[in-house]
């Protein structure tokens, strides 16, 4: 058990008074960054990175990674309270978190989200501690074809989950794909569908679309329905944390599935956003009460949050062992490592054991610090819903606008957000689902890139998608998930016929 020894050595490195202070400071900054939509963990870390050059590398990475944990925690807050995802991986949290807040259970939703984040991260850190070398090898198996198979799996686990008619779902998804194709075509290096506009060269950023579609769209709907939040009758009491905790163990299977999906997507590196969607979709498929999903089911908060945080945490593993970042924030941290003179890669664990184990120990401690910080704030955040709509709505609008501006520092994006807001309102009125569009927007570009890369490597031969066991089995799993509702129906008909006969 040399890992245990190394880990305790790491705790000794991380547990100085100074480092613990950096830990709490980082977490609090991170929560704030997570709450402000658009600022995001990657931007937050990038802005603060140069300030840490005069610190020693262990303290610096502890603080920066705590900002990262904080942002992961914080992203859930606005998703649940206002239907505005602070971070892309919080979109799936809005599906059930916001309805819960509307039903007067914001405290429960927040507690469940934070606790699930913590559990996901904890499982991921355990994996990093004990399985790092093995997991790093697994990540090497992933080429373009395997990545496409994973993205296909995400889509398939999501299809059939909306209550709306299938054609509306498909229409919404296709609009998402169309929007995703605007901007730079990464395979040919050509501009697509920009019509000569400089502003469109950036393409449609997922975050701007989401802030508009969800946040602004919701405010427009609320205005129509009488200028009041439905969550105002929420009873806030300090015991809500304990009461929610009593309910959570029942979802142990969801936790394990979520953590597994998250670890897998973080390591390969698929990212926290697809992980949260996939976990939500799969939780719904296995749930006892799938009809309750989307209407404020506690499990619908647990599943995406567990996966998102597990993915966010395990994304640091390929960064440390292979030098490839599993997420945009990890990419910025990677730059930091290089600047501090640390060379991420297979030798880092050998050459800079102090640093690596100090960082891993800080992942345990930082997450505990994060959980304490966010759980103590639950009643306060939940109480925000008690503020009259006419006061809070303008504040939210301003935050949305700042968020949209921050993503690319562009005024145009603020207008774009307003357009998306109107689109979100129209979609809701015509009861088109928004989730498939968002999913297509975030994964469309990635899936297209992997698909075309894979075909380039095989010189156009489609069999590349099932030529090896790994790729073939993921693709098969995806197809099974896709047709499972159909199979269920057929099975039901056969049974029904037998019963009739």
């Amino acid at each position: 058990m040399e890992e245990i020894n190394a880990l305790f050595h790491g705790f000794a490195v991380a547990l100085t008074l100074q480092n613990v202070m950096y830990m709490f400071l980082g977490t609090i900054l991170g929560v704030l960054i997570g709450v402000l939509p658009g600022l995001g963990g990657a931007n937050g870390v990038a802005i603060l990175l140069p300030l840490t050059f005069s610190m020693n590398p262990v303290s610096a990475i502890i603080m920066l990674s705590c900002i990262y944990w904080g942002a992961l925690f914080g992203g859930a807050i606005t998703s649940i309270l206002f239907n505005i995802p602070g971070e892309p991986w919080s979109v799936a949290t809005t599906f059930d978190g916001f309805p819960m807040a509307q039903k007067g259970q914001p405290g429960e939703a927040l507690t469940a989200a934070f606790t699930s984040s913590f559990v996901g991260a904890f499982i991921a850190v355990l994996m990093i501690t004990f399985l790092a070398p093995m997991v790093a090898k697994f990540a090497l198996q992933f080429g373009p074809a395997e990545f496409f198979a994973v993205q296909l799996l995400t889509f398939c686990s999501f299809v059939g989950m909306s209550k709306e008619p299938p054609f509306k779902t498909i229409a919404s998804m296709m609009i998402g794909f169309a929007l995703a194709s605007v901007g730079m075509d990464s395979i040919t290096g050509q501009l697509r569908l920009t019509f000569g506009s400089e502003e469109l060269m950036r393409g449609f950023d997922f975050l701007i679309a989401v802030i508009g579609l969800f946040g602004l769209g919701e405010i427009l709907l609320t205005m129509e329905e009488g200028l009041a939040f439905k969550g105002t009758e929420a009873k806030i009491n300090a015991k809500v944390v304990l009461q929610t905790w009593a309910k959570l163990p029942a979802y142990w299977a969801t936790y394990i599935r979520g953590a597994l999906i998250g670890c897998w997507m973080g390591v390969t590196p698929g990212g926290a956003t697809p992980a949260s969607f996939m976990s939500y979709g799969i939780a719904k498929k296995f749930a006892k009460n799938p009809a309750g999903f989307g209407k404020g089911e506690l499990e619908g908060v647990v599943a995406p949050e567990t996966a998102a945080h597990a993915a966010g945490t395990s994304a640091l593993l390929p960064m440390l062992t292979l030098g490839i970042p599993g997420s945009p924030t990890a990419a910025v941290l990677l730059g930091g490592l290089l600047i501090w003179g640390l060379q991420p890669g297979p030798l880092l664990f050998v050459e800079k054991a102090d640093f690596v184990w100090g960082l891993i120990a800080s992942m345990y401690l930082g997450n505990i610090a994060g959980l304490i910080v966010v759980l103590t704030t639950v009643p306060y955040f939940a109480a925000i819903l008690k503020i009259p709509f006419s006061i809070i709505a303008p504040v939210i609008l301003v935050i949305c606008a700042i968020g949209a501006y921050t993503v690319n520092n562009a005024q145009f994006d603020v207008y774009l957000m307003i357009v998306f807001g109107v689109l979100g309102y129209v979609f809701k009125k015509l009861s088109y689902p928004l989730a498939p569009m968002v999913l297509a927007l975030v994964l469309g570009k990635m899936a297209e890139g992997s698909f075309r890369q894979a075909l380039l490597t095989s010189q156009g031969d489609v069999s590349v998608f099932w030529e090896n066991g790994l790729c073939g089995s993921i693709t098969a799993l995806a197809i099974i998930l896709l047709i499972s509702p159909l199979l269920g129906k057929v099975w039901g008909m056969i049974k029904g016929n037998k019963a009739a006969a």
């Binding site: 990038a46 050059f53 050509q190 970042p325």
Partner: protein
């Protein structure tokens, strides 16, 4: 005697006056212009890449050594393969509060996409360094030399060997085309998003070779997974300290030595908006000169095996003119020019 005394005195006087004059000129040059509000440092690429890392390192060094009184704020404008960043500088005529770091997309993006900008639309400040490129293969495959690898690629037939690289119609693909021209081998070029990803794809044997920058592949080189075949430069890298257990950067042969004569370096330079005054350019040149003398910068140069070429003024514009012509020719031959 008296005469010589007088002339010596005279010389000294002239010398003192001269020194005083120079001193007053240089202080007045410094006093002439200095930013009185924060300066935006545009990176025409996403966070985490080579240009972004360098910009953020520069920002860190400038803060640490207190080289600027006003803050320098890094802003990523990566849209349209960096066109967004370059256009924002081009359209800020006379604005001295904006500087931009370049990568090869300074030349390749306008040529490949037809987006209207050119380095001549901006004010060149300085070349900070040149980034090198190395031909890497997977060690498991056992290619003994670059020639050995190219022969294998030729024997397998056109398009059978896969070259991975960052981006499309940018530096990595241009080098690949140059390599094909020099050797007659034909590769399937697979574009990826980032250099680190490319290196790992090579370790996982999903591609056959890469032309990664030294910094992008050094971790896997040191771990023994990748072999450095040759460097795309006329001379070997100057760094003689051992990086792997047996090799230093200097031990890697040039591609010319290896019998596949191809060379390419990527500009890491700084530009300002068009129409800024010489005083303003001089201010930033002074800041960068001081920055390049810090131990942190020198350490970064060696770790990333950069070519430390510092050019300003006419030498820099001459270099740019030549580099633009080279890019145009290579991209024209490869059929990469926007129609």
């Amino acid at each position: 005697m008296a005469i010589s005394m007088k002339s010596a005195f005279g010389k000294a006087l002239v010398g003192v006056m001269g020194a005083g004059l120079i001193a007053s000129v240089s202080t007045s040059a410094l006093a002439a212009w200095e930013p009185d509000k924060q300066v935006e440092f545009v990176v025409p690429a996403g966070t985490g890449g080579g240009a972004d890392q360098m910009a953020r390192l520069m920002q860190g060094i400038i803060v640490k050594h207190n080289l600027m009184k006003q803050p320098l704020v890094v802003v990523n404008k990566s849209g349209g393969a960096g066109a967004e960043g370059f256009l924002s500088v081009k359209n800020s005529k006379g604005d001295p509060y904006k500087i931009i770091i370049t990568l090869s997309n300074l030349f390749t993006t306008p040529l490949a996409t037809g987006v209207p900008f050119n380095w001549k639309d901006m004010t060149p400040v300085a070349m900070l360094a040149l980034d090198q490129f190395i031909l890497w293969t997977n060690t498991e495959k056992g290619y003994k030399s670059a020639k050995d690898y190219i022969d294998a690629a030729k024997a397998a037939g056109p398009g059978k060997f896969k070259m991975g690289g960052t981006g499309s119609k940018q530096e990595d693909q241009i080098i690949t085309v140059g390599l094909e021209k020099a050797t007659g081998a034909k590769f399937s070029y697979i574009p990826y998003k980032g250099g680190g990803e490319v290196a790992v794809q090579l370790v996982g044997n999903h591609i056959d070779s890469t032309v990664n920058n030294p910094a992008e592949a050094v971790a896997q080189w040191r771990a023994g997974s990748l072999t450095a075949q040759c460097v795309f430069d006329d001379v070997r890298l100057p760094y003689k300290a051992k990086v792997t257990s047996t090799q230093s950067w200097n031990d890697i042969p040039t591609c010319k030595e290896a019998g596949i004569p191809t060379d390419y370096q990527m500009l890491r330079g700084i530009f300002m908006a068009p129409g800024v005054t010489p005083d303003q350019v001089a201010y930033f040149n002074e800041v960068f000169k001081k920055m390049m003398n810090t131990p942190e910068w020198k350490d970064y140069m060696e770790k990333g095996a950069f070519s430390q070429t510092h050019l300003t003024g006419k030498e820099f514009t001459d270099w740019l003119t030549k580099a633009e012509a080279t890019h145009k020719q290579l991209m024209q031959e490869a059929g990469f020019l926007a129609k």
